[in-house]
């Protein structure tokens, strides 16, 4: 032990800040110092969702901890290059916002390419964690548009993962 703050200490401090922001007392906390990840779980209000599929698509970034088969963060990526729209029409509300439940195959946005509107669907059921691309912003092929957590029964999940996401 030395006087300097170790990566684990930094993680612990970050986690403590998250507790302040979380709506409920966390039910589970997982810290890792190797890839510097934090997972915070808290009990979920309301009925438990159906069991989520446990598989993640192959190119997902290394966000998944070794035993986290049922609460995986999954990226929804642009199926083609174009312009990303969060809403079905300019004045309409967005397809999804963080915290929304999505079903497998549910439309979460549109990528317009050559004046064709291509629906973007979530490959998994879960909860939208973060939308990473602004409405009407240009996107490349395979760019991460938003992240969905495939929540385990009764659980919500938030993760913090410094770096590695673009």
């Amino acid at each position: 032990m030395n006087d300097q703050e170790s990566p684990l200490d930094q993680l612990r401090n970050t986690a403590a800040m998250l507790f302040e922001l979380a709506p409920h007392t966390p039910s589970r906390i997982r810290l890792r110092s190797g890839d510097a990840s934090i997972e915070v779980h808290w009990p979920q209000a309301g009925p438990a969702p159906a069991t989520a599929p446990a598989t993640a698509p192959a190119p997902a970034p290394p966000l998944v901890t070794e035993e986290a088969a049922d609460d995986t963060l999954v990226a929804v990526r642009a199926p083609l290059l174009g312009t990303f729209y969060r809403s079905p029409a300019p004045e309409a509300p967005p397809f999804v916002t963080p915290g929304d439940k999505v079903e497998k195959g549910q439309q979460i946005g549109i990528v317009e390419s050559m004046k064709l509107m291509n629906p973007v669907e979530s490959a998994v059921a879960g909860t939208v964690v973060e939308v990473l691309v602004a409405d009407a912003a240009p996107v490349e092929f395979d760019q991460v548009l938003l992240t969905v957590t495939t929540a385990g029964a009764g659980d919500g999940c938030a993760e913090v993962f410094p770096g590695g996401r673009s």
Partner: protein
Amino acid sequence: MRFRSVLVANRGEIAVRVVRACRELGIRSIAVYSTADRDAVLGRLGDEQVHIGPAPARRSYLNAAALIEAAVQRGAEAVHPGYGFLSEDPDFAAACADNDLTFVGPPPEVISRFGDKAAARTAMAEAGLPILPGTGTAVEEDEARAAADRIGYPVIIKAVAGGGGRGMEIVTEPGAFAAAYRRTRDTARALFGDDRVCLERFLTAAHHIEVQVLCDEHGNAVHLGLRDCSAQRRRQKLVEESPSPVVSPELADRITAAALRGARAAGYRGAGTFEFLLDPASRDFYFMEANCRIQVEHPVTEMVTGVDLVREQLLIAAGQPLSIRQEDVRPRGVAVECRINAEDPDHGFAPAPGPLVEFVPPGGPFVRVDTHAYPGMTVTPHYDSLIAKVICWGPDRDTALDRMDRALAELRVAGPGVRTTTGFLRELIAHPLFRKGLHTTSLVDRVVAERGPQPPGAHP
């Protein structure tokens, strides 16, 4: 005017070549890449890079919508198509124009005319270019057989929409005609979605001679001399040189004049190549096809003329008049290019891609290497096998060839599973017929045969 930004709608060494021309002109270049090329391009090529699609070319480098969308998204003013992929697709050229992008190449209608081999034959015959006896338009089987009998065997059956050496079959005797005819139509339908074919007399051994032209939109047209591409395997060029070792100055004048006549008649614009076959016995030459793009072998012309062809393409497309007149074109010396492919010459030139653990290009005086490769890069199996072009100049052909042999000996390419054509090319350019400059399109098959039977399991 000049473009401020150009999207490079290609990959590999030609994308590197176009980016270099852009840099020298102060043009911002936007590179594109498929998932398979991500590591080789991202942060390495051009001023910006855009991920346009997954590995299959159909969904990336052949995906016109993605390329145009990328160009518009990044604010490109022009699109340089390189060679292959969409470089001779009139619909792509037209789609660029529809989106206010300048396509660096001839107008779509010119690409269309030369893309149809039958129409090109007819148009060039009308312009007074010599063509081989054959059929100008697509024909049905009975008519085709009668035409073959009239032309005399051997004949070559060509897909009207074909190109790049694909969709062609040679028939040496009447008994084999029907099967070959049907096979070519089937192949043409599968490859090009167009099963029309035409016929031509086939020259068993010929010199492949081509003329580089540059034409601007102000009515100026110049040629930059000849290239000789007679060293071919299955109509894929392996070694190219400029000038041709077998063409006298007087004959060269007639061939280049024919090419310029054809270019003017077609309303050509940009850099183009008119290909001819030269009969070694009669010394007659015949128009074969015109290529509406920069060619793989363009550096040999650059080395002897001092003209940067890709730069000229970009300036012509921006509406500038040619920077050179015909009298400014004064070729000097001899330049030779060898195509280094990731192929195994001992196994029927089968593709031999893989990671490059070692990649050391040659250097020294009058040696140029155009490549996208570097140590650690993986040669992907998704696209063509060209990994580098080695170009050598000399004041005379012997010096250029000695230099090429030295350069090829310096080139080091190694990695698990990787084989290259380097050793085969050294044997080829050392062959007495090649060394004397007397080789024809039949030489490579002969050298392959002289290497002896291939081991069992070899790909045909």
